[in-house]
């Protein structure tokens, strides 16, 4: 299990991401970036899709990145990473770069750049089997451009393009299950994590960079502006998303599924919804039925995941006593 001291030791060696960027106060994205980059021992190359992270960290002529970093466009982060990785392999083959000093290629994309606009390039890169890790920081709307709905926005959330009011109820559609879409590419590693569980995320990154071929991790980030919660509550909101089963933490290693975290106490979804201004309208009298629908959907999905977990559990090393998740990579 990775410790926070290991992450600190890695950052003391090389500070890969630094302050002075213009992300909002209480933003969840830097937690994703620093946990991921500090968990990787090899040198990294970062490719970034357009989004909050890209816009706020690289206001020309400044940069928050202390690693080789590339941004091309909104829709092609995974394609750009494919090119970088292929060029690297070609240079190694010709002897122009050392073969025994591995480099890790990491892509950061928001939910807009991953669920919607960059989905085709992500799908292509996963299918071609490039050696890279794609990390999606999911804050559930286009926050950078002013909180427009994306396909990651959950049912009922109010955004500027799905506003709540007399006619509209908030977003009327369900969110897309991107982790399942990535899994359908039959890549060796797919995972889902959240900023509140840094050990879980760090663990997943360590496994993801070890597998052969591409890996995908979907991380729930938070957005105090779009979710309308207090900046100080960023981690608490993510924690509740996990504890209410809205955002289950799991991984799929070589096609085998397991839950990596089972909340000790399952919290009603209402607690999580109440913390956020974007769900305020759900508590009006006329919307009373919506809460039950949302709760039922979450329980149904949880049952389905638990069943998958039971079916595949035998393929993983067994849990030790008092352990809520395992760290062994080897499958039985």
């Amino acid at each position: 299990m990775p410790t926070i001291k290991q992450l600190a030791a890695n950052e003391a060696k090389e500070k890969r991401f630094r302050g002075g960027h213009s992300l909002c106060s209480g933003c969840g994205i830097p937690i994703v970036v620093r946990t991921v980059l500090n968990s990787i021992e090899t040198p990294v190359v970062v490719v970034n899709a357009t989004g909050c992270l890209e816009v706020a960290t690289t206001r020309f002529p400044n940069t928050a990145w202390n690693v080789p970093w590339l941004h091309v466009a909104f829709e092609n982060a995974a394609a750009a990473a494919s090119g970088v990785e292929s060029a690297y392999r070609a240079l190694v083959k010709r002897g122009k770069l050392p073969a025994d000093e591995p480099v890790t290629f990491v892509v950061f994309g928001g939910d807009g750049g991953t669920y919607d606009i960059g989905l085709q390039s992500l799908s292509g890169a996963l299918e071609r089997g490039h050696q890279f890790l794609y990390v999606c920081y999911d804050n559930e709307a286009y926050m950078n451009t002013g909180i427009q709905r994306s396909s990651a926005t959950p049912f009922g959330a109010s955004t500027t393009t799905s506003p709540e009011g007399k006619i509209s109820f908030g977003k009327a559609q369900q969110r897309k299950d991107l982790t399942a879409i990535a899994e359908a590419h039959h890549v060796n590693y797919v995972g889902q994590s959240a900023i509140s569980h840094w050990h879980d995320l760090s663990d997943k990154v360590k496994r993801a960079v070890e597998v052969d071929g591409p890996a995908f991790i979907n991380v729930l980030s938070t957005c105090q502006l779009g979710w309308r919660h207090e900046p100080r509550e960023a981690v608490k909101v993510a924690q509740l998303a996990v504890d209410t089963l809205f955002w289950p933490l799991y991984e799929v290693v070589k096609g085998r599924f397991r839950l990596t975290h089972i909340p000790e106490e399952i919290v009603p979804i209402e607690t999580w919804l109440r913390m956020q201004g974007r769900f305020k309208h759900l508590f009006k009298e006329e919307n009373a039925g919506a809460l039950e629908v949302i709760q039922q959907q979450i329980f149904d999905e949880w049952e389905r995941l638990k069943e998958r977990d039971r079916n595949d559990r035998a393929h993983f090393a067994p849990l030790q006593k008092d352990q809520t998740f395992t760290t062994e990579f080897e499958m039985v």
């Binding site: 030791a9 991401f17 209480g26 946990t35």
Partner: protein, 110 residues
């Protein structure tokens, strides 16, 4: 119309060399509060260090050190995640020791 340029004649995209750049200070974003730490209570768990969006919680090697007010945006996330309530938010104009380090109720000299 201008003649088409060869690939090697086109200027490469905007390039920034990190070591040449001094990041703009974002401490001015604070809305009236800044963090301060009581080192008597700190258990050196570093959760605040990892969760700080602005890398304004400093670590010395693998130990907690203090706050870099030049970059702290005052979101109070560190105070919220602190398991021992060692971090408290104080008014921005309050005098605090360098890096916000307090020990035995007084400033910590180091």
């Amino acid at each position: 119309m201008n003649e088409l340029k060869k690939y090697h004649e086109i200027p490469i995209g905007g390039t920034v060399i990190t070591k040449d750049v001094v990041q703009p200070k974002t401490g001015g974003w604070r809305m009236g509060e800044k963090p301060m730490v009581n080192l008597d209570k700190c258990v050196n768990c570093l959760i605040c260090w990892l969760d700080c969006p602005d890398t304004a919680v400093l670590a010395e090697g693998t130990d907690f050190f203090g706050f870099e007010y030049d970059y702290c945006k005052g979101c109070a996330l560190c105070a919220e995640v602190c398991p021992t309530d060692a971090i408290v938010m104080v008014p921005d104009d309050q005098e605090v020791p360098e890096y916000g380090r307090m020990l035995n109720g007084g400033p910590h000299e180091n």
